[in-house]
């Protein structure tokens, strides 16, 4: 049947496409990528959101590969990272932060379980870099340099690699098989690791072996001491020594141990002492619990295990079998002031956990190396005042001394070294504007509480060095990953595509996101308002 | 052209009577036209129906103003409506009643009218007897056939069967036949029936 369409009364389908309603627009939506708070705060510069994205769909290998673009030690980080990302997570304002750290550990463990290896570099650059120290900074630098095709040699004074991860973090937080496996995976990329090799004159070694650049990552392994009047019989030691000794033979601390300090190391020692059989493991700290530098969850775990706390106290004297402490009171400004009130406490040993300094020998052999106090001063891309010498980790001035920060230093330094060796200066990519909570339309996210990680029973926690916090199973990990809001970056929820009254959003296909059809977009802003993750911005039309 | 006007009340089959009359004429090859007095059809209200019969096509659409025959189905109308208006001189008058003309008060009025043209029959009673209900139309048409000779009984029977079916048709035919016989008997006696 042939249709004879009456003039004007009957129209052909789709003819309205000739009417370009885009001309109505006074402002236009544009797709943007914003920096999610997790990524922004990750000292290792992980693209957390991206690896969560892969984990959401159960593609754990892709997630792990995304994760290890920035951090080669996920199984370690999934255990020891203090996860500032979770503190910044926008979901925290909705219900609870996404358990990023738990998912990271799951991925790290999954990689070990599945035996996923790092890819070897596609091509060798012919350049060689000397890395001093096999702590997190050194390993990270070595890993990233190797990925770029450079030859890497790590020198380590100790008999095993890992630095503070091995000699500062107790096994119940980081099982050594995990550490060993993740170190080995880096070595397997073709990184040379020389153990039991102490280097004092690094420039000489560089010259002798013809390294193109040097990265220093020797950490801060010298314990800070404080003057405490003490009798000869008193047993005063430091946290670094205790934690180092534990790796080789159990140190003798006695039945009653007092730890002096309020940081994470103090907690580590107190909990270690408990596991070594101490009846009493008491932390003495000058200020209150909320002022403690130690993370609250660690304090909580320590308390659960029977560690005691003496807040607002300083040790004024140590003798055989006991110590004297003075009660403190906080002044108006929150500083502790002595009260003149004293107390005696039984103590077989006192462990000072007052912080660490950088060993100076190596530094003294580098002429012109600029220091700040005991630490090395670097520029924004981790180069010291000496050209071609880069540094990272705990030895570098400024910033927190954590494993995660060190890994970040190693990565940044590796990029800077790579550029430097090509005669360039590393320019980090400009960061996107932040994806703040206000930019989200959280209505779209399903209600979902955070997963609670399994915890070892208390008896075993008090008597063994078994790992305290368990991992997530696959279901939990996927669930947790799916709690991610994908702040600031399109996760292809199709909302913009769906809510456009003018069908002016083009769906480009899975993984390819969307595009605006500005021929028809009237600029109503519905897509912007209804984008759950704040990945659409509004720009004024230039008219 | 022969024109008939039927008076009655709604529900008495006045219109049907006119229609059956027209069908009976049609069956005999005549042109005929039957139509009602176009009222809103309410039970009990006075109604009229008309029928024209002719040998040629009937084009006329006016109501029957000058009937050649009147059929009065309900004598109760005699004193309410001017039933005889326009009746042709020597026109036929067929009244359904158990009473005589005198009893109906028409004796003086119809004194000048040819007596053979006037007939009163108890059509409702005949209908009650044969049909079981006092619907006098078929019986009156039987009487009309006998009185005027304008339609034949067999055509009337066919017309009744056209409008009714089965047992009801046969009962109405019986009533028509009874009335036909009664009128024929009476008119042969040359007395007002």
């Amino acid at each position: 049947m042939s249709i004879q369409k009456p003039f004007a009364i009957t129209l052909d389908k789709n003819t309205s496409l000739a009417n370009h309603t885009g001309s109505w627009r006074s402002k236009r939506p544009v797709y943007v990528d914003r920096l999610p708070p997790c990524n922004a705060t990750c000292p290792a510069g992980e693209n957390i959101q991206n690896w969560l994205f892969h984990a959401e769909s159960g593609n754990y290998e892709a997630a792990w590969r995304s994760l290890t673009e920035n951090n080669p030690l996920p199984a370690i980080m999934g255990r020891v990272c203090y996860h500032p990302c979770e503190g910044a997570c926008n979901r925290g304002q909705l219900d609870e932060a996404v358990g990023i750290n738990a998912v990271e550990r799951f991925l790290g463990d999954e990689a070990l379980k599945q035996g996923w290896a790092f890819a070897k570099p596609v091509a060798e650059s012919g350049k060689r870099v000397l890395v001093v120290g096999s702590g997190p900074a050194g390993l990270s630098a070595a890993y990233h340099l190797r990925r770029m095709g450079h030859g890497v040699t790590i020198v380590e004074a100790e008999t095993a690699a890992g630095g503070m991860m091995r000699y500062g973090i107790p096994r119940y937080r980081l099982p050594r098989r995990v550490l060993d496996a993740e170190v080995q995976r880096i070595v397997d990329m073709g990184v040379e690791l020389r153990l039991d090799t102490r280097v004092d004159d690094v420039l000489a070694m560089q010259a002798a072996e013809g390294f193109d650049a040097v990265f220093l990552g020797i950490g801060a392994g010298i314990a800070k001491r404080a003057y405490i009047p003490a009798g000869d019989a008193s047993h005063i030691t430091d946290a670094i020594s205790v934690l180092h000794e534990v790796e080789e033979h159990p140190p003798l601390l006695g039945r009653k141990v007092v730890i002096y300090g309020g940081g994470n190391t103090a907690i580590d020692v107190a909990r270690t002492a408990k596991r070594l059989g101490a009846e009493a493991s008491i932390i003495v700290y000058r200020r209150t619990r909320d002022k403690m530098p130690a993370h609250d969850f660690e304090v909580k775990e320590a308390l659960e295990e029977g560690v005691k706390m003496k807040w607002l106290s300083t040790i004024t004297e140590a003798d055989a079998g006991n110590i004297t402490i003075e009660k403190m009171a906080l002044d108006d400004k929150g500083f502790p002031q002595p009260t003149g009130e004293f107390e005696t406490l039984a103590a077989d040993s006192v462990v000072l956990a007052l912080g660490q300094n950088v060993e100076q020998t190596l530094l003294e052999h580098i002429p012109g190396l600029e220091l700040k106090w005991d630490s090395v001063q670097t520029d924004a891309v981790m180069m010291t005042s000496v050209a071609g010498v880069f540094a990272g980790g705990d030895m570098v001035a400024g910033g927190e001394r954590t494993v995660t920060v060190s890994i970040g230093h190693g990565k940044k330094a590796a990029r800077a070294i790579d550029a430097w060796m090509r005669g360039e200066r590393y320019q980090p990519a400009p960061k996107h504007e932040p994806a703040t909570f206000e930019r989200l339309n959280t209505w779209y996210y399903a209600d979902a509480a955070k997963t609670v990680r399994p915890v070892l029973d208390i008896i075993r926690r008090q008597s063994t060095f078994d790992e305290v916090v368990g991992g997530l199973d696959e279901g939990n990990a996927m669930y947790e990953a799916r709690r991610c809001l994908s702040c600031g970056n399109c996760f292809e929820c199709d909302n913009c595509y769906g809510v456009c009254p003018d069908s002016a959003v083009i769906k480009l296909g899975a993984g390819k996101r969307f595009a605006f059809n500005y021929d028809y977009c009237k600029g109503c802003g519905l897509c912007v308002e209804e984008c759950p993750c704040g990945a659409i911005a509004v720009e004024l039309e230039d008219k | 052209m022969f024109q008939v006007r039927i008076h009655g009340r709604g529900g008495q089959g006045v219109v049907t009577a006119a229609e059956m009359l027209s069908i009976a004429a049609f069956i005999k090859g005549k042109h005929s036209q039957a139509f009602p007095s176009f009222g809103s059809e309410r039970m009990g209200a006075p109604v009229m129906a008309f029928c024209r019969i002719d040998a040629k096509e009937i084009r006329l659409r006016e109501p029957v103003l000058n009937p050649d025959a009147l059929i009065i189905q309900d004598p109760g109308l005699l004193h309410q409506v001017n039933l005889f208006e326009g009746l042709a001189e020597h026109g036929y008058i067929l009244i359904n009643s158990t009473h005589t003309l005198a009893e109906l008060g028409l004796e003086d009025y119809l004194r000048e009218h040819p007596q053979r043209q006037v007939c009163v029959i108890p059509a409702s009673e005949i209908a009650l007897k044969h049909v079981g209900r006092p619907l006098p139309n078929a019986a009156l048409l039987g009487g009309f056939a006998a009185l005027t000779g304008l339609i034949q009984m067999e055509a009337l029977q066919a017309a009744i069967r056209d409008k009714f079916s089965g047992k009801i048709a046969e009962q109405n035919i019986a009533a028509a036949q009874a009335a036909f016989a009664q009128v024929q008997t009476n008119t042969q006696g040359a007395t007002p029936c």
Binding site: I3, F7 | R61
Partner: protein, 417 residues
């Protein structure tokens, strides 16, 4: 087949022979018998396939027909009077969309005062609605016009109204020759719509058209309807060849070729007029008549040609354009424009007032003698209206005229005339 049947039944049988696919039924006197009969025919399977839909109003009846027709079904409905006015919006819409719906109008007056009897005010109120309007003179013609109407509507994609006088025709038992199905099938092919709602070929029907094209759309509607002036005589001619009857066409002159006075009318009253014409011709009066069968499109040339030799024209119409007079007469006047002939408007038969031979005879004699007024109302009860006018002038705002008139007449339940 010759039958002695009621007009409504005959029309219903004719519709049935046309194989309508969707019938919309809503009761209104005097068309009700038509849709009642059709309902029974559908129930008995005599029209099959067919959807018979009892709608909730005339507006819905035409709307359902619009939907059905746009979807490619042959659609039919019937109405009258208030019903036609209630569907008026849809009546215009059906023609605007070019949907070949056929509708029977059982012509009836329009209130207030409410009146169920015959005149032409209803269909004439829709004369500009874009429908073709055909007026039946007899029930035979009503039957034949419906068969032609479907063919006409579908060939032009224009809806057609067949106007049949309420009661006078719809309720009259008379002789009608009902054609055989095969004859009708040969004359009326299956509906092949000009356009259709079809998922295989989706189109948008019923667009909004602005000042830039509306004039053109309306012009084309006019042009399309004017095509009927050529097609209607052809279809009537073809009908005559196949059915042996002269039915339909544009106009039907009767003894008018040499007549000084020609009476023009629509519909069944032409029968009575012809009887009077015959009577007066026998008396030597030079009179004839012209029945307008196709009123829309108005066959101006045919009317002019039929009237050009007359000395005077008397339009007897069952309608009143309050404030000016005749409706049909106005069109007739246009047809004879420039011929300088008096066109007399006679308003007659409003609300079922019988148009009698007596009255027509007097009227036509008066016309023949040249004494007819330009506008007059046949059988108007002058004394009554004069009395009412006088009373109205005496005291204004005195209530509805209709009630006062009835009071003045004394309430008479059933009058012969």
């Amino acid at each position: 087949m010759l039958k002695q049947i009621e007009g409504s039944q005959a029309v219903a049988e004719a519709i049935g022979l046309c194989r309508p696919e969707v019938i919309c039924a809503y009761p209104i006197t005097p068309q009700t018998h038509i849709v009642e009969n059709l309902g029974q025919m559908v129930d008995k399977g005599q029209i099959d396939p067919c959807e018979y839909i009892n709608v909730e109003s005339e507006f819905a009846a035409m709307s359902v027909a619009i939907g059905a027709s746009a979807a490619g079904a042959r659609a039919y409905t019937a109405t009258a009077s208030q019903g036609l006015l209630f569907m008026a919006e849809a009546v215009y819409n059906a023609s605007g969309l070019g949907l070949p719906i056929v509708m029977t109008i059982g012509n009836r007056a329009i209130g207030a005062p409410i009146n169920i009897w015959n005149d032409h005010q209803d269909s004439l109120s829709m004369r500009d609605a874009g429908w073709i309007q055909l007026y039946a003179e007899t029930n035979q013609e009503a039957v034949d016009l419906h068969i032609q109407a479907f063919r006409l509507a579908e060939e032009l994609s224009v809806p057609v109204m067949v106007c049949v006088d309420g009661f006078i025709l719809t309720h009259a038992y008379e002789r009608v020759d009902i054609p055989e199905q095969a004859q009708v099938d040969a004359y009326l092919p299956p509906f092949s719509p000009r356009q259709m709602l079809d998922p295989a070929n989706p189109v948008t029907i019923g667009a909004m058209v602005g000042p830039e094209a509306f004039m053109e759309v309306r012009y084309l509607a006019h042009y399309q309807q004017m095509q009927a002036l050529g097609l209607i005589p052809e279809l009537a001619e073809e009908f005559q060849q196949q059915f042996g009857r002269d039915s339909g066409g544009l106009v039907k002159p009767y003894r008018s070729a040499d007549a000084d006075t020609i009476v023009v009318a629509l519909g069944s009253v032409n029968g009575t007029i012809k009887d009077v014409v015959d009577e007066m011709r026998e008396q030597g009066v030079s009179i004839g008549s012209l029945s307008i069968c196709t009123y829309r499109p108005f066959p101006r040339k045919a009317v002019r040609s039929a009237l050009q030799h007359a000395k005077r024209i008397v339009v007897v119409e069952k309608s009143l354009a309050v404030g000016i007079g005749g409706i049909v007469a106005t069109d007739v006047q246009m047809a004879v424009a420039g011929l300088h002939k008096p066109v007399h408007t006679v308003i007659a038969g409003l609300g079922g007032r019988p148009i009698t031979r007596d009255s027509l005879r007097k009227l036509f004699h008066k016309a023949d003698q040249g004494h007819l007024a330009h506008l007059q109302f046949l059988d108007l009860k002058h004394a009554l209206v004069h009395e009412e006018i006088a009373r109205m002038e005496g005291q204004r705002h005195s209530g509805p005229s209709a009630e006062n008139i009835l009071r003045g007449m004394g309430t008479i339940a059933s009058q012969i005339r």
